[in-house]
Symmetry: C2
Subunit: 173 residues, 2 copies
């Protein structure tokens, strides 16, 4: 069985949507997803509000994210065909650890605690395939790498790209 | 720089001592460390009390452990010579995640969040060396493996053995 490493934020969880929601609640402006395209994470928000250094440290930020469209169904199928690990670079945000665990239990109840990894650097994990939205997570990986499309990585080249969970299913199932 | 993977419980943290303390508090009997020798984890406690299935789920179990003698000084030196990761199979005990993170910050303040991994199965991590007290964690590791002595592994053969932190220093520094 091949080992497949899948990221959480902006891969199975809609982190971008959560930034937009939190920004609207705080500043009263609803930013569109498209206006964030082709800019590094957080840079697309108005008035130089450095949301990446703020919102992820707040309580409920991780726990109330929506799963990415189609991710639950496809992950459930992948889980039968691959040795699947969910690997999240969560250690920077200590309060996120129990929230992320709870979130996975809620939205992906067929995964077990044996399949979950919370780390700082992903350089320490190995497998056959990795799906991630951040180039620096993919760069240290020795297997086959896939960038999962998010507004902040649309300008990144050099990786095989998966635009949505339908495409993940077509490639891996 | 070679990558060194070091476990927490019964390697840098005195989990056995914590089991003894919790057992004494609960049942009024102070078990000696030696009486636990050569028996699988938890089996040495009287009256078939299955402490392994109880105490690790309790609040403060992980946070109030003592560091293993000499571990802090040696880890600080190893941290300059190796790409060091602390990897703990903590996911089975959700309440342990923030406790373990806090514990590391308190007793090993020179480590950064980038060096910490909480997982279910350690099969997903790779490196040059692994120091662990549990055979099943070492078995899936592809690098050089060292079993760190604890009462529950003294009857296990087939691994290079490190009996204490002085021996870790002599081997790796």
């Amino acid at each position: 069985m091949k080992r497949l490493i899948v990221d959480m934020d902006d891969v199975i969880a809609d982190a971008t949507g959560q930034f937009i929601n939190f920004y609207e609640k705080e500043f009263g402006v609803r930013v569109t997803r498209e206006s964030l395209n082709h800019q590094d994470e957080g840079l697309g928000f108005p008035a130089n509000h450095d949301v990446v250094q703020q919102f992820p440290f707040r309580s409920s930020f991780f726990q109330t994210m929506q799963p990415h469209e189609g991710s639950q169904k496809i992950i459930e199928l992948l889980n039968k065909k691959y040795e699947l690990f969910i690997v999240s670079a969560a250690m920077e945000f200590p309060q996120s650890l129990p929230e992320k665990l709870k979130w996975l239990g809620e939205h992906f109840p067929f995964l077990t605690w044996r399949q979950i990894v919370f780390c700082g650097s992903k350089a320490v994990v190995h497998g056959d395939y990795m799906i991630d939205d951040l180039p620096y997570n993919l760069e240290t990986f020795k297997g086959e790498k896939f960038i999962f499309s998010a507004p902040h990585n649309l300008h990144i080249h050099g990786f095989q790209r998966l635009n949505n969970w339908q495409e993940v299913g077509e490639r891996f199932l």
